[in-house]
Amino acid sequence: MKLKYLKNVASLNINCCKCTGCGVCVDVCPHEVIGIVGKKAVIIDLDSCMECGACLKNCPFEAISVSKGVGCAIAVLNSRKNNGECCC
C-alpha cells in the first residue's frame, strides 16, 4: 500500500527540452515518481514526491528542478525561529 502525502504540493518540475531520457532520475528516485515515456522523463506520480532532491542532484543535463528540503516538522519550526536547521 503506497502511502501518499498531500495533493499537488510537491515542487518537482522536469524540463523536457533539456531531458535526454537517460533515466538516471528514475534509478535514484525512492518513490517511483518519474518514468520514461516516449524517450523523455515524465512525472508519473507527483504526490509521491518527497522533494529529496536525488533526481536534481543526478541529472547531468540540469533538466530537473525541485525545492529540495527535509519534510520534517521540527526543521520547519526551527527555521522559522532562528534560521536554523533541524534538530539532528
Binding site: M1, L3, K4, Y5, L6, K7, V9, A10, S11, V24, D27, V28, C29, P30, H31, E32, S48, C49, M50, E51, C52, G53, A54, K57, N58, P60, S67, K68, G69, V70, G71, C72, A73, I74, A75, V76, L77, E85, C86, C88
Partner: protein
C-alpha cells in the same frame, strides 16, 4: 566509542580494518539502545577502509556512512562476500540524513578516496553507493572529478546479494522506499520518549494541585491529556495508513477526537464529577426546591460541559500537533507539504490550547465558588 574491535592489517602500506558479517549481542544491544534514542549521536565507527572476507584488487567497494547502525546493516548483508568497505565521515549520521545534510556527498567521497588511497587497493574504478545517498552524491560529478564510476546500490542493504546476482542492477522493488508496519513500529519508542517530558509535566501539575487541594485537574483529566500524546506518538504511527486524511496533523486530529470522546464517556460513568455532583446535591436537601435545582444545574452540568469543551479544545490539538511531528521520521513527506501543514496546525494548536486553558479555569471557578 565505536564498539567494534578494530583489527587491522597492512595492505600495500595502507591500514585496512577487518570486519565481518556477524552481528554480536553487543551490536544488537547497541541497535536497541539507539532505537530508544539513547546516545544515538555518538554511535559511530571510525572512517577508513574496511574489508569483509578476503577481498582482492578486483573485489567491489561498498561506500558506507559511519553511523554504526548503517555500517552494521551493510556488513551483515555481505555474508560470504569478499568486499572492501569505504566508510566516510558522515559525523555518525545515517546515509539518507547525511546525504540531505551534505556530509554524505560528492566531495566527501572524492576526499576519502584520496585520503585513504583507495586506488592502491583495487584494479577497477567502481564504487557501490547506497541509493539513498543520491540526494547528496552526484554520480556524474564523481566521475568527472575522480574518474570513479558510482553505481547506486539498492535502498536496503538486505537486497545487496540479489542486486549483485542481477548484474549490479536494482529492480523496481529494490529502488522503492517503503513505510510499512515494521518500519513505523521501530520509530515509535523514540517518538514516545520525545513526548514523555510533556506527560511528566502534566502528572507533576496534577500532583501539585492535589496536594494544594486545588481541583484544577483531576486524575481522569491527567489521563485524558497525557493520552493525547500517546495517541500522537504511538497510535498514529502504528495505524498511519488507516487513519483518514493525508496530512499527519489531520490524522492526529481524528485520532484525538476519538480519544476525547472516550474520555468524555469515562467522565459520564460512576465516580465522575457529574455523578458525584448528583449524589451530593440530593444528599444535601433531598428536595427539588428552586435553590436545589440551581445548585443541581450549576453543580453538575456546567462543570461537565466546560470540561467537555476543554477536552474538545485541548486533546485533538495536542494529537494533531504532535502527530505532525512524526513527519520528521517518515519516509514520504515533502517539505512543501509539511510547511503547508504547519501553517495551519501551529495557529490552531496555540489558540485551541489557550481556549482550553480558559475553559478549565472557568470550570475551576464555577466548581469552587458556585458548587
Amino acid at each position: 566509542k565505536s564498539g567494534n574491535n578494530l583489527l587491522s592489517k597492512n595492505i600495500s602500506g595502507l591500514t585496512v580494518y577487518k570486519t565481518d558479517a556477524k552481528l554480536t549481542f553487543k551490536d544488537m544491544l547497541g541497535l536497541w539502545r539507539v532505537r530508544l534514542g539513547i546516545k544515538r549521536n555518538s554511535y559511530l565507527v571510525k572512517p577508513g577502509i574496511y574489508c569483509t572476507g578476503n577481498p582482492d584488487p578486483d573485489s567491489m567497494v561498498f561506500v558506507s556512512a559511519n553511523y554504526k547502525l548503517s555500517f552494521d546493516n551493510l556488513r551483515s548483508s555481505l555474508v560470504g562476500i569478499n568486499a572492501w568497505i569505504l566508510v566516510l565521515d558522515t559525523k555518525g549520521v545515517n546515509v539518507w540524513c547525511a546525504a540531505g545534510k551534505g556530509t554524505f556527498s560528492t566531495e566527501e567521497i572524492i576526499n576519502k578516496l584520496s585520503e585513504f588511497k583507495v586506488g592502491q587497493l583495487i584494479n577497477h574504478k567502481k564504487l557501490i553507493v547506497p541509493q539513498l545517498a543520491a540526494t547528496g552524491v552526484s554520480a556524474h560529478d564523481v566521475l568527472k572529478l575522480s574518474g570513479y564510476r558510482v553505481i547506486f546500490g539498492p535502498v536496503r542493504a538486505q537486497d545487496i546479494s540479489s542486486f549483485l546476482k542481477n548484474g549490479m542492477k536494482s529492480t523496481k522493488e529494490m529502488r522503492a522506499v517503503n513505510f510499512g508496519a515494521k518500519d513505523r513500529a521501530v520509530l515509535i519508542p523514540i517518538e514516545f520518549i520525545g513526548t514523555l517530558k510533556y506527560i511528566l509535566a502534566i502528572i507533576a501539575a496534577f500532583i501539585i494541585f492535589k496536594y494544594t487541594k486545588m481541583n484544577f485537574i483531576n486524575l481522569r483529566d491527567t489521563v485524558a491529556f497525557s493520552g493525547a500524546f500517546v495517541i500522537a506518538a504511538i497510535i498514529v504511527p502504528l495505524f498511519l495508513p488507516w487513519i483518514p486524511g493525508r496530512a499527519f496533523s489531520l490524522k492526529g486530529f481524528f485520532a484525538g477526537i476519538i480519544w476525547m470522546l472516550a474520555m468524555t464517556a469515562w467522565n459520564l460513568s460512576p465516580g465522575s464529577i457529574m455523578q458525584n455532583g448528583i449524589k451530593a446535591a440530593s444528599a444535601n436537601t433531598g428536595g427539588t426546591s428552586y435553590f436545589n435545582l440551581q445548585k443541581f444545574f450549576y453543580g453538575n452540568w456546567l462543570p461537565f460541559l466546560l470540561l467537555t469543551l476543554a477536552y474538545l479544545m485541548i486533546i485533538p490539538a495536542i494529537s494533531a500537533f504532535f502527530a505532525l511531528n512524526f513527519t520528521g521520521s517518515s519516509t514520504y513527506t515533502s517539505l512543501s507539504g509539511v510547511k503547508k501543514e504547519m501553517k495551519i496546525t501551529l495557529p490552531y494548536f496555540i489558540s485551541a490550547l489557550c481556549v482550553g486553558a480558559v475553559l478549565l479555569i472557568i470550570r475551576f471557578l464555577v466548581q469552587t465558588f458556585i458548587m
